[in-house]
């Protein structure tokens, strides 16, 4: 591959990284703490390419650096570029929930959280809700009205509200699930919702992989959050 082509590929790939960074789309793929690194990586890629391009222009020809044995594999760098600019893959959703093992129990090893905030309706992350139902045996959530945000998923006749948690990138996504009972919404799968209701006390157990039941009082369909995953 010619040096000029390599430089263009680097600019495109760096550009793709910057594009997803500044448009916020990176949150579909990685956790938010990676943002500064992504911007730096994109900028450095473009910088290295520009440095080489300017150097070549000054000399009037591509520098023959004697080791231009670059393999065909370099072409593959075009794939993520095309994927980001043309396809822009969506955030992971129901497919992952239905194909993975139940992972609510991972929350059992987490540290106990502080006191619940006061208020009529407490908005909780799925992570915190599942942690409290699986870990905390004192029943702090019982009889408290809670609001959860997630997408709908159905399996074996049951309806769940689910959310994916990631540690690093979408490749390590693990689903957190809460089973809905009571006024179960009839919305389609993968619809993002805010559900308000109360936990069914002691409903999470080892037998059901620590998936708690949640008595729904009201459901509001919402747009997918900017940050689709919890971390």
């Amino acid at each position: 591959m010619r040096r000029e082509t390599q430089n263009i590929l680097l600019v495109l790939l760096g550009g793709a990284l910057l594009k997803i960074s500044f448009s916020g789309l990176y949150l579909r793929y990685v956790q938010k703490g990676l943002l500064p690194l992504l911007i730096a990586a994109g900028a450095i890629m473009i910088g290295l390419a520009l440095f080489a391009i300017i150097r070549d222009i000054r000399r009037g020809k591509a520098v023959d650096d004697g080791h231009s044995h670059s393999s065909r594999s370099t072409w593959l760098m075009l794939l993520p570029v095309l994927a980001v600019f043309l396809i822009s893959p969506p955030a992971l959703g129901g497919e992952v929930v239905s194909s993975s093992v139940d992972t609510n129990q991972t929350q059992r090893s987490r540290n106990l959280l502080g006191d619940l905030p006061s208020g009529e309706v407490i908005p909780l992350s799925m992570t915190e809700f599942v942690t409290r139902t699986a870990w905390d045996e004192s029943g702090t959530l019982d009889n408290r009205r809670v609001k959860l945000t997630g997408f709908l998923a159905r399996a074996e006749g049951d309806t769940f509200v689910a959310r994916l948690a990631i540690a690093c990138c979408a490749a390590d996504a693990r689903p957190l699930k809460v089973k809905l009972v009571g006024d179960v919404p009839a919305l389609p799968n993968e619809q993002w919702v805010e559900v308000t209701g109360k936990v069914v006390p002691k409903s999470a157990s080892e037998k059901n992989s620590w998936v708690p039941s949640f008595t729904v009082e009201s459901t509001t369909p919402v747009a997918q959050p900017v940050e689709p995953y919890e971390s």
Binding site: L13, D65, T74, S99, V101, T106, A167, A171
Partner: protein, 336 residues
């Protein structure tokens, strides 16, 4: 891998000037075609499994790129600013003694495995013994503080897991280094991997730095993408739900988790969180997962094949796989 570039450029120089199709025209062609068929492409991928695979693929690439960039910057800096003699002075002259030093030095590279491949290759080019550079390559992604902290957070009710991971990974790296001292052959490593950079007369150090980093990035980037492609495919199409059913069989558990670590190709900073999720399994198979993952996985094999050549990667990766399993099991039996 091929020398198409060289042949082409020499042809270009010798032949009469005429219209030729070079990689530049091919690139433009691909881009135009991709733009024309964009909606067709999007429709084609609108199947749940393929959608998941494409998201995971982009996620792995995006996640790994910053670490690869970090790696090539360090590699470029070594090429430009660290003379070979300084490295020689820093390391014990006896290779067998330098191996553990390199293993412990891995603590200093905060990143995942993508960063360590270009650095290890540059070390070899600067005259560091391959065994030493390879030990560094294996140790760095597994024993650095960021990875250990992530492991401690994930396994916060079994702190011994952190110690076991550190010891197991360091042991794997050092055993591989010593094995290379005893059995390794230089001819397995592709010649281009060891070719010293030309002493660019009159080229400033900064230019050497930028050119080396750029060159390494172009070299490794494609292989990283290839690894991401494999990992995304495996992750999406191999069902892992049945894993929960093997909890009773420890030997099977160890082998399956080792195999999973290779095909999932998780970043070493995230694998502990995935290992925690396999809660039906005892700790030992999960430790194997954590020790094998940063040492050998499809992304890493692709990167190694790119950096050191196929004949190296296809010997080194299986050997590392076996050594990592043995070291992890030995460590686990003693510590867990």
């Amino acid at each position: 891998m091929t020398i198409t570039g060289e042949i082409r450029s020499s042809k270009r120089r010798s032949g009469p000037p005429r219209l030729k199709i070079t990689s530049l025209e091919v690139l433009c062609g691909i881009l135009v075609l991709a733009l024309l068929f964009q909606s067709r492409l999007v429709d084609l991928l609108d199947v749940p499994k393929l959608r998941t695979a494409s998201t995971v693929f982009v996620a792995i690439c995006v996640q790994a790129m910053p670490f690869l960039v970090l790696g090539v910057l360090i590699s470029g800096a070594i090429a430009a600013f660290v003379p070979a003699s300084a490295l020689r002075k820093l390391l014990p002259s006896k290779t067998a003694l330098a191996v553990p030093v390199a293993g412990v030095a891995g603590v200093a590279l905060p990143g995942c495995e993508c960063a360590s491949v270009p650095v290890a290759r540059r070390l070899m080019q600067q005259g560091v013994a391959p065994a030493v550079a390879l030990t560094f390559l294996l140790a760095a992604p597994a024993v650095n503080p960021i990875v250990l902290v992530a492991t401690a957070v994930a396994f916060n009710d079994t702190p011994m897991m952190v110690v076991a991971r550190f010891v197991g990974s360091l042991l794997t790296a050092m055993v591989m280094g010593w094995l290379w001292v005893r059995f390794g052959k230089m001819e397995w490593i592709a010649e281009r991997a060891l070719a010293r950079l030309h002493d660019h007369d009159g080229t400033s150090r900064w230019a050497v730095f930028a050119e080396s980093a750029r060159h390494d990035l172009v070299d490794a980037g494609g292989f990283l993408v290839l690894g991401g492609l494999f990992a995304a495919t495996f992750k999406t199409f191999i069902p892992v739900a049945w894993m929960q059913t093997i909890s009773g069989q420890i030997v099977l558990g160890v082998l399956v988790m080792a195999f999973l670590a290779v095909i999932l190709a998780l970043c070493s900073e995230a694998d502990a969180f995935v290992a925690v999720a396999f809660s039906a399994l005892p700790l030992l198979p999960r430790l194997v997962f954590l020790v094998v993952g940063p040492a050998v996985d499809v992304k890493l094999i692709a990167l190694q094949a790119g950096a050191f050549g196929k004949s190296f990667a296809f010997r080194f990766a299986p050997a590392t796989f076996v050594v990592a399993i043995l070291c992890a099991v030995a460590t686990g039996v003693v510590l867990l």
